[in-house]
Structures are given as structure tokens and as C-alpha cells.
Subunit: 456 residues, 2 copies
């Protein structure tokens, strides 16, 4: 029976033009990952539910797509439990697998499971889709790719330096100039909470601070008051709102503010090391900026935090982020494996490149030449040439049917194929090919050798 076909909300079909552009971005990222010594791994699309559940908070648990057990999945469900008709209680009884929600937890699972085959420090990258049952909206999908690079097994700050360079390398290679790599350190945030006497409100404090961009200084202070942070504490924070100027000026201010906090000063030193090293080595097109209001994923990160902002003329928000975490694999029983990693926001980078017209013209899935089909004998003559051109790596096609020439030319036109070859009885006799440049309409009779040379 005929159905009007559609796809689930929040998912997408990608046309040839889109796939080719997406691959251009992913291939650029992969090339840079490889040059920096990262190695690819891949993990299954679904994991055992207990690998994923409880790792992303209650909200995360809700957003994980669960896979129904195969076969008679109700057979083993206890009657008493079944009769409660409670979705939450029934779920673990009828579903044992779930689609991955991100690449980080599967990576942690991978490291623990394969720890005896891995040479640490382990630099891995992973580019695969993830799934979230989020409410779809502009730029937010239920299936999307994540592009992650992480190093586990070393606490060295050279890795943070390397990740800043890696961001710069990727965006420079994509010709996306003027991105800002914002950096902060979780230890600085802890230090600030400490010196204002609100260590126990660290999370409330940073969640509020993180909103500075959106709600402004007064809004942040209001939210802090609502969360019970004292006036005295907020007053002590005042210098933070004025942090500006060069990296040295910001570092000086932070040193002054955090002089009494050991952890705070440690954070400042880490930031200082990264900033000074990067300023010596130099970046190609990106800027590195200290941003003390950057908080992202606080319950997760323990050291450096990164977030990449698109060039200012594009209103896009973050196109990448990451940071240092000290105990990722602990959830799977392997303690004291420090890690640091970054990720690239493929969908947003795509939109930015599209908006700024930065996809190279050569990025297309296009056929170079279409041979027009004049009938069986002519097609045979053409096919032999097509076959030889393909062996040289030239993208060539024979129109499959001997239909009207207008239709065949129209097909070449619509598909933006730059050349057509017309070869009928005359050409066959002379062993030539009439090569037509579609844009100019110019036609030349050429030998196969000339044809090949022109199309190379």
C-alpha cells in the first residue's frame, strides 16, 4: 500500500551536495587529528543500557533512546510489576540496550575494556553519530555527528597547548579566520568561590556567572542573590565583572583576587603556562582569550575549559568546546586516568561556512563529462572511452538511454556537468570525439589522447 513517505522529526536526509560538504569538514578535521597523532576508534551505535544510564543526570537519562528487546519481550516481565503500568519501572525490564548519547562515555568504556591493549598516553579521535530524544528545534537534531579528540593517561599541560593549536589548525585549514578560543580553568572558579566564602555554592555561582553574556552583570547578581549568595560575597566578585584588557592584565587581576586560594592560584598558573606558550609558538588565524565567566559542564571538568566562538559577524555561538577531566574512567572502575579533550560542532561549522561562502568550489560530487547516447553502436564507442577515462580517475558517465539530445543536454545542465561529448557516426569513422564546453558552448573535435588531456 502506498504511504506518503517521511522521516522521524529531528532527523535529516542528506542530499549529495550536503554529504560532500559535510565530508569536506570531517575530512579536514580528520587530517588535522591524524597530523597531531590522534588515532581513530569506533564504538557500537548502541551500548548496554547500564553503560549509559546514570552518566548524564536525570535529564540525560530521559533523553537516551532505548531499544526494545527483541522477540517476546513481555514474557519475562513479572505480572505484579506489569500491572502497575508504570513506564519508568517497565523500561529496564523490556529494554537492555540504548543508542549512544555522546562519544565520551563510550570512550571511557572502551579505555577500561581495552586497557591492556592500549599504550598510554592514548590519543584517540572518534567521529560518529549520537542520538538524543531532545525536542527538535533550529540547529538541534535527534541524530547528529560528534567529532571528538581526547588524550587519556597524562596530566601534562602540553596537551592543553596542543589542543589550542589543533583548534587553530582545523579552522585555519577550513579558511574560517577569526575564531576565538575562549579558555578558563575550573580551579580558578573554585578559587573564586573560595575567596568569596561560598565554596559550598560553587555550582550555583558558576551557573549564574556563565549567563553573563545573556543576562548581563545585574542579572547575574540577581540570580546569585536568589541562590543565597551573600552581598559581601557578591561585592568581592566586583573585579571579575571588570576583567578586560590583555591576557597579562587579566592574569594580574586574577593573581591579586586569588592570592589567598591555593587551588585558585594553581588554576592561574595553568592558564598562564598555556597562554605564554601559545603566544611564543603563535597561532595561524585563531585568537586565544581568557574568559573567567566560562563555566561549561562544571560537574565534569576539573582543569582547563575551552569553548570556541565563531567569528563575530556570524551569530552562531559555540562551534567547539572541551576541557580537562581527572576521573573519566572511574565510573567503569579504572581510577586516576586523567584526560583532556575537545570536540567540534559539525552542524554549526557547516552553517558558518555556508553563511560566509567558505566551501571551496571544488567541493562537489560532480561528474566532469557526460557522453551523449546516440544509439547502441555509438554508445559502445562512447563506453569504451568512458571506461578508459575512469581508469585515469576522470569522473565520466554515459547517458544510459538514447533519448532526445535535448533531454540528455538538459540532464548535463541540471547536474552542472561542465563537459559533454558528442560522438556519432562521423566521429566513429574519424576516431575522434566532439567535446563541448557547456558554459561557453564551444565545441572541438579531438582525439582520445587530447580528450583525456583536456579533462585531466
Amino acid at each position: 500500500m502506498a504511504q506518503k513517505p517521511s522521516i522521524p522529526k529531528g532527523t535529516r536526509d542528506f542530499s549529495p551536495a550536503e554529504v560532500v560538504k559535510r565530508n569536506y569538514i570531517m575530512d579536514t578535521i580528520k587530517d588535522c587529528f591524524t597530523t597531531y597523532g590522534f588515532q581513530p576508534i569506533e564504538t557500537p551505535s548502541f551500548e548496554n543500557s547500564d553503560t549509559l544510564m546514570g552518566k548524564y543526570g536525570d535529564e540525560g537519562d530521559r533523553l537516551i533512546f532505548k531499544i526494545l528487546n527483541s522477540g517476546d519481550f513481555l514474557r519475562k516481565v513479572d505480572d505484579a510489576l506489569y500491572s502497575e503500568k508504570d513506564s519508568g519501572k517497565l523500561t529496564p525490564k523490556i529494554s537492555e540496550k540504548a543508542l549512544r548519547y555522546d562519544l565520551t562515555v563510550p570512550f571511557a568504556r572502551y579505555v577500561v575494556q581495552h586497557q591492556n591493549e592500549i599504550d598510554f598516553p592514548f590519543k584517540r579521535y572518534q567521529i560518529q553519530p549520537v542520538w538524543r530524544a531532545d525536542r527538535p528545534q533550529k540547529g538541534r537534531f535527534r541524530e547528529f555527528f560528534q567529532c571528538d579528540a581526547d588524550v587519556v593517561g597524562s596530566k601534562s599541560l602540553w596537551q592543553e597547548v596542543e589542543f589550542v593549536e589543533l583548534y587553530d589548525a582545523v579552522f585555519s585549514k577550513l579558511n574560517l579566520e577569526g575564531v576565538t578560543i575562549k579558555m578558563n580553568n575550573r580551579k580558578i572558579l573554585s578559587g573564586i568561590a573560595e575567596v568569596i566564602g561560598e565554596s559550598d555554592k560553587l555550582i550555583d555561582f558558576t551557573v549564574a556567572l556563565d549567563k553573563l553574556d545573556k543576562i548581563g552583570e545585574d542579572g547575574v547578581k540577581k540570580e546569585m542573590r536568589e541562590k543565597g549568595i551573600t552581598e559581601t560575597a557578591i561585592e568581592k566578585l566586583q573585579p571579575l565583572f571588570q576583567v578586560s584588557g590583555t591576557a597579562s592584565e587579566k592574569l594580574a587581576l586574577l593573581k591579586d583576587l586569588l592570592s589567598s586560594s591555593e587551588i585558585g592560584m594553581q588554576g592561574v598558573q595553568e592558564v598562564e603556562f598555556i597562554v605564554s606558550t601559545i603566544s611564543e609558538i603563535g597561532l595561524q588565524t585563531a585568537m586565544l582569550e581568557i574568559d573567567v565567566t566560562l563555566a561549561r559542564g562544571l560537574n565534569y571538568y576539573t582543569g582547563a575549559i575551552f569553548e570556541v566562538a565563531a567569528p563575530e559577524q556570524v551569530k552562531m555561538g559555540s562551534i567547539g568546546g572541551g576541557g580537562r577531566y581527572d576521573d573519566l574512567t572511574g565510573i567503569f572502575g579504572l581510577k586516576n586516568i586523567s584526560g583532556v579533550g575537545i570536540s567540534f560542532g559539525l552542524d554549526r561549522i557547516y552553517l558558518v561556512l555556508e553563511e560566509l561562502g567558505l566551501f571551496p568550489e571544488t567541493v562537489s560530487a560532480n561528474t566532469k563529462v557526460l557522453f551523449i547516447n546516440f544509439g547502441e553502436e555509438e554508445a559502445f564507442y562512447a563506453m569504451k572511452a568512458v571506461s578508459k577515462l575512469r581508469k585515469e580517475g576522470i569522473t565520466a558517465e554515459l547517458y544510459p538511454d538514447a533519448t532526445k539530445m535535448g533531454k540528455q543536454m538538459g540532464y548535463a545542465d541540471k547536474r552542472n556537468i561542465p563537459y559533454t561529448v558528442l560522438a556519432g557516426g562521423d566521429e566513429m569513422q574519424a576516431e575522434t570525439f566532439t567535446l563541448k564546453h557547456m558554459k561557453s558552448g564551444k565545441q572541438d573535435a579531438v582525439s582520445f589522447t587530447e580528450l583525456r588531456a583536456k579533462l585531466k
Copy 2:
């Protein structure tokens, strides 16, 4: 709480070495697809259930992974239905989405949904994972990649010719010589059923014939008898079991056998056209063979059928297959769109290349040079060089920690990194680098320019 991590049965983690080899195969296939004018599309991992259900038979429906609806999925389930506790009846009420089972049905859905954006004939390729709740066994997985190329919108036999050449191109590029492309035609099978007077038993007849390899001539005849095919009919079949010799000899025998069947003769002519054209154009390393016992997926194909056998010395069975289907998109309401396509069996091709040692040595995710870390200042000196080498596309790493040299050298060894650079105080003063070739142990003091040249 620590869990001993594992992955669902039938799924796999891929290590860096495996990912790189898999990518080598997929990139080779993609390159050939592109050269032949095929364009990539991608479809979502899950489809609406009604897009997939009922398209693969009852067995297929059972093997499709269903995704549990999000949230309180039982809320809208009717109490009476719920109280039946019937898995089969409950499933459509609590699951609206399912993981794709193959790439063909999603492709048909794509063509119908996007018919107004597509220029026909549409040559598309698609390389994505599919999922089947099959019982896992050696070489059979619950998640695996399919690599498909199809053309829809033309009945031209030039496309069959092209697909034979495409198989040859891919396997030649993979250096896998001696594959056999077996070809048959559904019309020949129909013709045979007709001339032996058993048209209504076409499926039983071909299912039995398809087993010739496994159960031999007597076995096939026995099965035919069991299915009620008459002795007279089986007698008429006798010449089929003796089909051998060259393509011309096989064609002559078929013409003789099928002379009274219009559809049978049409099939013979189609096969003859493809065979004669291919023999004129020539294949690089593959052989094309007529195999009248080839039946695969009879309910689906309507013209040419292909199956590719690995070289005889490898016991592997089919590493690819495909054929012509006349009404793929009809299930979604778009009639009379003929298509033909082939697919490559990635996992089996991987095993064949591994067994024959055909993966090129250059196929590795390897770092070219590791800079040894002697401390902060030395690391800074090294990092500047690493940074410059990477900009030249040379895969370079700095060991992140200034640990014992033995440990760092051991890391380079285990990871098969061919070169290390030792740069301490002396080298820094002389602005040189000591480059060590790990295999020979040979060391040279070189300038940066020399270093770069040696590593390029």
C-alpha cells in the same frame, strides 16, 4: 559504582588499526563510485516504523530493532490491550521508530520523498551502518556497514555493463585479483520454469536450484520432487546441470532450451549483450561468468542478478551482489521507476584482504616521529618544531611528560613510531635535533630543515 564494561553481543569496537583498514576499503569503494558518477546520500539511522515494517517479510520484521517511545510511553496505551500482555500487539503502541535494516528501503523512501529535487536517472551511493537482531555468529553481526550503489530511472542495459566494470574497478584497485562476477537473469529462470511447465512453482524451483553448490545435482532433484515438480519437468532440466564451457557455449545451450519462451529468450539476449560488451571492453582482473543456478532474492529482482565470489583459494563465499529490480519505489507510491544496483560486503572483503595479506603497509594510523620530553624548556624547544612539522602535514608528537627516557622510547617502540627526536641542552644551544631511526638505532644531528626533509 564500578561496572565491568562490555558491549552488546553482535556489536564490535574497532581499534585504530582496524578503523584505518576499514577506511582504506571504504575510501577505495567511494573513489570508484565517484569516478563512475555516483553521488553520495545519507539517510537517518532510524525511520518511522511503517517505512520499514512489512518490507522484508515476517522474518525481517522480527529482526528489525525497534526504538521505545520517549517519556511515559504507556500513557496512551489502551487498558484492554495492555492487559493482554501481548508483545506483538503492544509493540506498535509503544514504538514508532526503528533502526534501518538495509539501505535499499530507505533509498526507495528517499527517492519518492525527494522526487522533485532529483534529476533522473539518479546514480546514488550510500555507505552507512545497518542493524539486524539476528543471532550473532562468525562473520554475522548485529551492526554492520552496507556499501551500495544504485541507478534508478532507466532500464538501459548499459548500467548492468557499468556495474560489472565497477566491480572489476574496485577489486582491481584493492589488488584483489581473481574474483568471479557471477551473473544470471531472473527472466532466464522464469523462462526455464515456463518451458518445463512449472511456472507456478518458480520460487520452489529456483530455491532448490540455488543450492546446487551445497547439495549437488541429486540433492537439487530430490528437493524439486519434494516440492511437487514433476519427473518430466526435472528431465527437461537435465541440460542445465551440464551447463559448462565458455559463455558462448552456455548461451547456445540456453537459446536451445528456451527457444519457446519469450521471457526466457529476452533474458538470454540481455545476458548476451552484457557478456559481449564486457568482452570487448575488457576487465582488469575480474572474471565474468554466466551462472544459471544463481537465484538470490528472487521476489525482489526482475532482470540481471549478480554475485561476486572471492578468489577460490579463500573460502569466503559471496563478497558482493546485486541486480535489477523493476518496481522498488512502488511501495511508496511512485510506480515504474526501474533500478539496478550492487553492494559490497565490507566485513568479508576485510577478511579476504587480511587473509591474503593485501592491505598496503602504508595503511596505518601511525605517527612518523615522537619528540622525547626532557623537561619544560626542552619540551618547549621540541614543541615549536613539532608545531612546524605538523603545518607541513608531517604526523609528529611530543611525549607529554618528562618521564624516564626508557619509558618514552618504549612508547615509541610499542606504537611502531619509526623515528624519535632527542633534543636536550646541547641541541638547543646548537639549534639542532638528534634524529634517531628506531629500527637501525642510527642517530644524526640535523638542522630543522634537514629534519623536515628527512621526515617528508
